[in-house]
Each structure stands twice: as structure tokens, then as C-alpha cells.
């Protein structure tokens, strides 16, 4: 008798090494329980919960170094890849700004100051973590180059997908910048651009966002494959574990900033960049302030989810790493 499809799907969520040991037995039991009138949804739910617990704890995993090294690599990937996924959300959330005439009281209000600090922290965490991710990617490529796999060349090609995606997005960004108008003419009505090509700039912006989303998906897919299959030396595995720690901290910091910013926004606090910021110097008339309008919720929800996933995977990676080291010694 064939086990119901839902139960098959739940069983497929268990790690392969677990299915090798217990897969047949558990399939037989679920068949027996279903034949006794057991609720299929309940059985599948219990199996899903069991699969999640097994993946998190690694209970019953054979004490073989290569298995634990692979577990370390996979958990490092799960801890770091959410950073790539949330980047488009954070960039979209940080995009908008406008001119406002603000009173001294509004500028000095705690909500405004807290919001400004939260915005600065998020920007800083994004920039620093971008640099760290670039360094981590370099270490990954180094590890893949020294990995003992027959199809190392394919893994090397796959590991270059994030760089290719980044260069494509950067190229589109620069191309758009060249098409943006710099000089305008005004006759009391709407501003008329005197140079550039606004239509081309708009089209490039659409293409840029498509490229960004496609690049994120392709990068996540390729890096997941590479980290799963490249049996890299211990030195590179340790770098990966450090990257997982750093990413978990950075994502948590960004998530907390987004939540704090959202709370401050509820009290009408908007980030106001300091007036000596080189981006704004001399651009605006006195009394007017460039106010950032971040989509705190747009960034906050995915950032919080990513931080939870990253922190959980980082804990798994830490334990898997220490087991790998003890088995290797």
C-alpha cells in the first residue's frame, strides 16, 4: 500500500542520512497508523515537526567528519543567504526622501532623533555587512578552489554567479545615472529637464529591479549548491562559521533598527540627515530639510524573519562546527 502523498512530502523533509536509517520503518508505521484510522493531516504535521527538530538538532547523525562538515556548510549557508534575500527589501525601503519644513521642536523631538539613529545604524550595518559578505565570498571561492571534488570546475563557475549578478546590477545602475537629468527649467509649473533622458532612465530602473531580483534568486541558488557540495578544507569552513556569526549579528542589528524606526515613525519621527552631510550640502534652501521616508515595515518584516532564520542556523553551525572539529581531531 502506498503511503499518502502528504505523508510522503513530510518524510521528504527529513535529512537524507536520517531517511537512510529510519525512512523505511517510519513509512511502514505511518501506513499502519493510517490504516487504523489515524488522521493523515495530524500524522503529516507530526512528521514535519519531527523533520524540523531533526534538522536543527542533528539527533541520530552518524559520527562521521564528512557528514558533520557538510552539516556545518549547509547551516552556514542558511545563516548567511538570508542577507542576500533581504537586500532588495532594504534598498527599496531606504529609497524615498522629500523636502520638509521642520520646526526646531520637531527636529529636537526624541522620535526624530531615534528615527535618525535607527536609519544611520541600518545604513551602516548594510554597508559593513556588504563588505563582509564580499570578503566571505572571496573565502568561499578560495575554499572551492581547494575543494576535493571531481566537478570542482562547475562549482567554481556557480560560485561566480553572485559576482556576475552584482556587476550586472552595478552596470545598470551606472547606465541609469548617466540618463538622469541634472539640469531643469521651471516656468512656475512642473520642472522640465534640459538634459538626460528621463524615459530611458525609467526603463533602466525597471530593468535594474528585475536584474536585482533575478540576481538575488540566482545567487542564493548557486551559493546553496556550492556550499552543499564543495568539500572544502577546515580552514575555509572556519571562515564560513565566522561569516555566519557576523551575518546573524548584522541582520539582528538591522531588524532591531527597522523595528525601532517603525515605532518612532508611529510618533511622527522621520530620519533627518545632518545638514553637514555632503550629499545635501548647499542643495536646499534654509529652513527646509531633506527628510528620509524609509518603508520601515517593508524592511522590518523580512529583516525580522531573516534575523530569526540566521540566528537559528548560526547556533546549528556553531554546534556542527565543534562536533566536526572533535571528530577530525
Amino acid at each position: 500500500m502506498r503511503a499518502p502523498r502528504l505523508i510522503d512530502a513530510s518524510l521528504a523533509c527529513y535529512p537524507a542520512w536520517w531517511r537512510d536509517v529510519y525512512g523505511e520503518e517510519i513509512r511502514r508505521i505511518t501506513q499502519d497508523l493510517a490504516a487504523d484510522g489515524g488522521n493523515e493531516m495530524r500524522l503529516a504535521g507530526d512528521l514535519l515537526r519531527g523533520a524540523l527538530t531533526t534538522r536543527l538538532r542533528g539527533t541520530g547523525m552518524a559520527p562521521r567528519p564528512e557528514l558533520w562538515a557538510r552539516r556545518t556548510r549547509v547551516s552556514v549557508a542558511v545563516a548567511t543567504l538570508p542577507w542576500i534575500v533581504v537586500v532588495p527589501f532594504v534598498l527599496a525601503a531606504m529609497g524615498g526622501h522629500s523636502l520638509r519644513t521642520l520646526s526646531a521642536a520637531t527636529l529636537a523631538a526624541p522620535a526624530t532623533r531615534i528615527s535618525s539613529y535607527a536609519f544611520e545604524v541600518m545604513q551602516l550595518a548594510l554597508i559593513v555587512s556588504f563588505c563582509a559578505m564580499a570578503a566571505g565570498w572571496g573565502a568561499l571561492v578560495g575554499g572551492v578552489r581547494r575543494a576535493a571534488r571531481p566537478h570542482r570546475r562547475h562549482l567554481m563557475l556557480l560560485s561566480c554567479v553572485p559576482l556576475a549578478s552584482f556587476l550586472a546590477v552595478l552596470g545598470l545602475f551606472i547606465a541609469r545615472m548617466t540618463q538622469l537629468p541634472n539640469e531643469f527649467q521651471s516656468h512656475g509649473g512642473p520642472l522640465i529637464p534640459l538634459d538626460g533622458n528621463p524615459a530611458a532612465a525609467h526603463a533602466l530602473l525597471v530593468v535594474l529591479w528585475f536584474a536585482l531580483v533575478a540576481g538575488v534568486l540566482a545567487s542564493v541558488w548557486s551559493l546553496a549548491l556550492v556550499t552543499k557540495h564543495a568539500e572544502m578544507p577546515m580552514l575555509y569552513l572556519r571562515s564560513g562559521k565566522r561569516m555566519a556569526t557576523f551575518t546573524a549579528i548584522a541582520l539582528t542589528l538591522m531588524a532591531v533598527s527597522a523595528v525601532v524606526g517603525a515605532v518612532a515613525a508611529a510618533y511622527h519621527g522621520y530620519p533627518v540627515p545632518s545638514l553637514d552631510n555632503f550629499l545635501y550640502t548647499g542643495r536646499y534652501a534654509s529652513g527646509q530639510y531633506p527628510v528620509e521616508l524609509p518603508g520601515w515595515r517593508l524592511a522590518g518584516v523580512p529583516l525580522t524573519a531573516a534575523a530569526v532564520v540566521s540566528l537559528t542556523a548560526w547556533r546549528v553551525a556553531r554546534r556542527a562546527w565543534s562536533t566536526t572539529v572533535s571528530l577530525t581531531d
Partner: protein, 103 residues
């Protein structure tokens, strides 16, 4: 009441206690625990416990019979269970005595 208490029951204790009656495979364990306590363990919960107990050396798997591996409690497992049950029995005795005074 049994359902509410069931969530606080330790499946590890139930599995070890069931195995003191002789080796059993997964389905036999689920049925025996159901008879003992009225709680039906799900297969995911049961095999999570079995994998952990096997890893800790408290139980061992025997040769498979018709795609089913029976499990047996080890001497170490029996000692650990005895210790746990003595503590549980002591708590139960004190609790029942205090409940008697309460009612």
C-alpha cells in the same frame, strides 16, 4: 484532563517504560504507550525520541523483521529509567499526600 496533562508528559520516559516489557518496534511502542497512558505518540515524535535514546546508548536496535526494527532497552537505559522513576514516584507520593491534606 488526560489530554492537557499529555502535553506535559515526557515521551522519553514513556518509551523507556514501554521497552521494559520487552523489545518492540515503532508501531508496537505507539500502541503500548496508548494503552498505558491514553496518549498516542506521532511517528515523528516517536522516532525523534528513539534516535536520541539510541545515540545516548539507552536503547539498541535489533535486526529488522519485515521492514520493522525492534528496539530493546540496554542495561544503562534500565539504570537511568530506574533512577528517573524513583524520583517521579517520590514526587507522586508527596503530591498525593499533600493533595489528601488539601481535600
Amino acid at each position: 484532563m488526560s489530554n492537557r496533562l499529555g502535553r506535559t508528559q515526557d515521551p522519553t520516559l514513556m518509551v523507556l517504560t514501554s521497552l521494559t516489557g520487552g523489545p518492540k518496534h515503532g508501531y508496537g511502542l505507539i500502541r503500548d504507550i496508548d494503552d498505558m497512558t491514553g496518549i498516542t505518540l506521532g511517528p515523528g515524535t516517536l522516532y525523534g525520541v528513539l534516535a536520541r535514546l539510541e545515540e545516548e546508548g539507552l536503547i539498541e536496535a535489533l535486526a529488522a523483521e519485515d521492514r520493522r526494527r525492534p528496539y530493546r532497552i540496554t542495561a544503562h537505559g534500565a539504570a537511568v529509567l530506574k533512577e528517573r522513576l524513583e524520583v517521579t514516584a517520590k514526587v507522586a507520593r508527596i503530591g498525593l499526600r499533600r493533595l489528601g491534606a488539601f481535600t
